[in-house]
Subunit: 195 residues, 2 copies
DNA sequence: CTCGATAGTGATTGGTCACTAACTTGGTTC
DNA sequence: GAACCAAGTTAGTGACCAATCACTATCGAG
C-alpha cells in the first residue's frame, strides 16, 4: 500500500520499537524491521539516514509515550493521588513488555556509546538524558514538586522494569506486596516519607 | 603464557564481563573476548561449549560478586545499619559501570530469550531468576527479614543502575539528595517506612 | 629421552548484515 | 497523454562473525 513518506516513517518507528525492544540494537536487523513494516529493507535507508537514526527515533517515541500515559492517567490530579494513578498506569503500560524493554535497551545503548562501544557514537546519551530529565521534571511537578518523592517514584518504576524483564508474573512473591492490581501504586505512591 | 584450563576459564570470564557489559551479547564478538584474554579466538570454544555459555558464566559471576560485596560490607551488621552499609558498598561497586551493565545486559537478554528472541534459548531466564531470588533472600535476611524493606532496597538499587547507565555524575541534581558519599545509603536504607 | 596428555594456534567456512546503486511503479498536473 | 516526481523494488557488495578442523608447542612422569 502506497503511503506518504511521513506516514511510512511513522510505521517504521512503531515497528522499530517492537523489534529493538525484543532483540536490542545489535540483535535487530533492518531486514526484520522492514518485514514488519511491509516494505523492502533498502527503503528504510531512504526514510532514515541509518539504523542508528531509527533506533533513536524509536527511543524518543517510547519515552514520549510514557509521559503521554502518565499525563492521561493523572490528568486533574496532584500529589499522592497523581503518583498513584501514574504508578497504576505504568504497570499497565509495561505489562506487554515492549515499552519497557525499549527503555532498557536505550539505557544499555547509552552506556555502550559512552564506553567506547563501537556503535551509537552519535549523541544518543545526550538525547536520552534530556528525555529522562524532562520526564522526571514533569512527574515531579505533577506529584507536587517534591524531588525525593519523584525519586522514589522512579526507583520503584525501575524495579518494576527489572522484575518484568526477568519474567516474574505480578503475583510472584518477589513483588512483595506491591504489583498486582492497584496495590502496585502503594510503593511508588510516595506515601509521605518525611525527612 | 601457558596456564591450566581452569585458570584460563577464569580469565575468560573476567574478560567476558567487561566486553559483554560494554557491548551486549550480540555486540560482543568472541574475537574481542579472546583478544582481551590474550588467546586465540577458537580456543574459547575449547574452554566453553559456545558463546552463550560464556555469557551465562559472566552473568553468574557478576551476581555472585554483588553478593560478595554486600556480604563483606555488612558483615556483623543487621537491620538498617546493614542496609546502609550495603547501599554504600553498591554505589562503590557500580561506579565503574562494568558490574552494573553486565546486570542490565542480563536483564535484556532474559527478556529477549522469552520474546522469541533468536539467541539465548537455553535456560538463561531460569538461571537469572534463581540468582536474583537468592540475592533478594540473602539481602532480606541480612537487613532483618522485612520483605517490603528489601523491596525498597532493590528499587533504589535499580534506580542507581539506571542513573549510572545514563551517565549522570553522582552530584547531578537528578540524584536528588541521594547518591554522593554515604548519603547514598539514605534512600535505600529503608528507614522504617511504617505501614 | 620419550611418550602421552593438555594448552594453544592458523586457516577456513557458511551465514548474516548495513548500506548503495540503479531501476520501476503509480499518482498528479497541464 | 506525456512529463514529472515521489514511493518503492531488485540486485549486489564488503565487512564481520561463530564455530570447526587439523595442526603445533609445552609440560610432567617414568
Amino acid at each position: 500500500m502506497r503511503m506518504s513518506a511521513e506516514e511510512r516513517r511513522e510505521s517504521v518507528v512503531r515497528a522499530a520499537v517492537i523489534e529493538f525492544a525484543r532483540n536490542g540494537y545489535r540483535g535487530t536487523s533492518t531486514e526484520a524491521i522492514a518485514r514488519r513494516v511491509g516494505v523492502s529493507q533498502p527503503y528504510l535507508f531512504r526514510l532514515f539516514p541509518g539504523k542508528q537514526a531509527i533506533f533513536t527515533a524509536a527511543a524518543e517515541r517510547c519515552i514520549e509515550e510514557t509521559w503521554r500515559v502518565f499525563d492521561e492517567a493523572s490528568a486533574g490530579l496532584t500529589g499522592e493521588a497523581a503518583a498513584e494513578a501514574m504508578s497504576e498506569a505504568y504497570l499497565g503500560l509495561v505489562e506487554d513488555g515492549e515499552q519497557l524493554m525499549m527503555q532498557m535497551q536505550l539505557y544499555v545503548s547509552v552506556f555502550a556509546s559512552r564506553m567506547g562501544g563501537e556503535d551509537g557514537e552519535d549523541g544518543i546519551g545526550e538525547t536520552a538524558r534530556q528525555l529522562w530529565e524532562e520526564l522526571f521534571e514533569r512527574v515531579r511537578l505533577r506529584i507536587g514538586g517534591d524531588a525525593a518523592e519523584a525519586t522514589e517514584f522512579f526507583a520503584y518504576g525501575m524495579l518494576i522494569n527489572t522484575l518484568v524483564a526477568l519474567g516474574y508474573p505480578q503475583d510472584h512473591r518477589i513483588w512483595g506486596g506491591f504489583g498486582v492490581q492497584s496495590r502496585a501504586a502503594r510503593g511508588a505512591a510516595g506515601q509521605g516519607r518525611a525527612e
